[in-house]
């Protein structure tokens, strides 16, 4: 049924079934929109770096704006040691942002509204940050679970809490993005359904809500990409600069 607000999140196969070693890796609408988002990013960066002028044109300026935005975000939160990870965080931010934004287009599919996608990204970040932490600091990295200046009585409890919070990072990171995207799109769909079902007489109120929500969702799309990237920076900062 077309008016089911959850139906927009359905993944369906496009083209033939691809099975490798018994695992279904078929090309789906999710794959299609990942490729569309990535293509838009690459096209944008291609246009933004085609003519490298001293006085930039609009698209070059925008590309440089993104560059400086992410660079500043990294240097503010994780310091200069995080410079080697700049390309990754830039790619991550751009990918999440463009997936969110492409998802805002009507009849499109929001890649980041799927828990599996965000969880894989979050798990990769979690594992990578943990590995980086152990490579940089060895077993001293475990000191991240033992904050300094805590009374000895509370220390076991605090350490337990720290461990739980550390382990819940991938979950919170992935669920935050996925839930925000899903909730926003569901809400838009619901209000869209209201417009249709209440008809020409009563549909104006949900329509105006829909318009306002679209604006809000665009903000959320940007904000969640930013939050995703900045939390990655913060986790990276914990791994690079041991504070505890």
């Amino acid at each position: 049924m077309a008016s089911n607000p959850m139906q927009q999140f359905t993944v369906h196969k496009i083209g033939p079934e691809i099975k490798i070693a018994g695992v279904d890796l078929s090309f789906t609408n999710a794959s299609l929109f990942m490729i569309i988002s990535a293509s838009i990013i690459l096209l944008f960066l291609f246009l933004g770096t085609r003519e490298r002028k001293i006085i930039p044109d609009k698209i070059q300026l925008t590309a440089e704006l993104f560059y400086n935005f992410v660079a500043k975000m990294i240097s503010d939160t994780a310091g200069s040691k995080a410079k080697p990870y700049f390309p990754f965080i830039f790619s991550l931010f751009m990918f999440v942002l463009f997936c969110n934004m492409v998802g805002m287009l009507p009849y499109s599919f929001t890649v980041t509204s799927h828990i599996i996608v965000t969880l894989i990204m979050a798990l990769f970040i979690f594992v990578a940050v943990t590995v980086i932490g152990f490579i940089k600091h060895g077993f001293k990295y475990l000191g991240i679970f033992v904050p300094s200046g805590v009374p000895a009585v509370l220390l076991p409890l605090i350490t337990l809490i720290e461990i739980i919070s550390y382990l819940s990072r991938p979950v919170s990171l992935s669920v935050r993005l996925f839930a925000n995207m899903m909730a926003g799109h569901t809400m838009l769909k619901v209000f869209g359904g209201f417009v249709v079902s209440l008809g020409i007489l009563g549909g104006w109120l949900p329509l105006s809500f829909s318009v306002a929500l679209t604006g809000l969702e665009i903000l959320v799309a940007f904000l969640q990409a930013y939050v995703f990237a900045i939390l990655t920076c913060i986790y990276l900062n914990d791994a690079l600069n041991l504070h505890h």
């Binding site: 089911n4 959850m6 999140f9 078929s26 999710a30 794959s31 001293i54 828990i115 894989i120 079902s197």
Partner: protein
């Protein structure tokens, strides 16, 4: 907002019976999880490689270039400013020197002129004096000459008068002596 969302979902559900047809979230259906993971990793890896190897260095290079250019231009500007200030100072020094020189030349030429005029004046004064003394001498000479010719004339006149009156010829030397005598007595009045 959440209450609103719940309310709306409930309303829509009531109107359209949709949850009867398909309940739950498609996100939790694991059919395409592997596919999504595979494509995500593939697409993101390609994106990451092309961004990190190709686009970011380009942007960074351009930003660095611009920064360098701005820095260079600023440096050049300050250099040129210094240069122009130095030149201005130089110019002012030259100007003040020239002014001094002009004043000096002015004073010098004035002095020279004064001296020159003084010297010329002296020379002219001397010449005038010389001329004057010469003229006086000539006058005296003339006067002396005129006295002797006056004596001659008066001798002749006296000789003629005496001849006319008495008809005799008097001794010329005695007349001469008498005239000389008279003129000697009176010459002091004219010299």
């Amino acid at each position: 907002m959440k209450r609103l969302l719940g309310l709306s979902i409930a309303l829509v559900a009531k109107r359209t019976d949709l949850f009867a047809a398909e309940a739950g979230m498609p996100q939790l259906d694991p059919t395409y999880w592997a596919s999504q993971a595979f494509w995500l990793i593939l697409v993101f890896t390609i994106l990451y490689i092309s961004i990190s190897k190709f686009y970011l260095p380009k942007i960074k290079e351009n930003l660095d270039n611009r920064e360098r250019k701005i820095k260079e231009d600023l440096e050049n500007a300050s250099k040129f400013k210094e240069q122009s200030e130095a030149k201005l100072k130089e110019y002012q020094v030259i100007l003040s020197n020239a002014k001094k020189e002009v004043a000096k030349i002015h004073i010098d030429s004035k002095n020279d002129l004064d001296k020159n005029i003084q010297a010329k004046k002296e020379v002219i004064d001397k010449e005038i004096e010389k001329e004057l003394t010469k003229a006086q001498k000539e006058i005296i000479e003339l006067k002396k000459n005129s006295i002797s010719s006056i004596q001659n004339i008066s001798e002749n006149i006296a000789l003629n008068i005496i001849e006319k009156i008495s008809g005799d010829k008097l001794n010329q030397s005695s007349i001469k002596a008498t005239v000389e005598d008279v003129s000697k007595k009176n010459v002091g009045k004219y010299l």
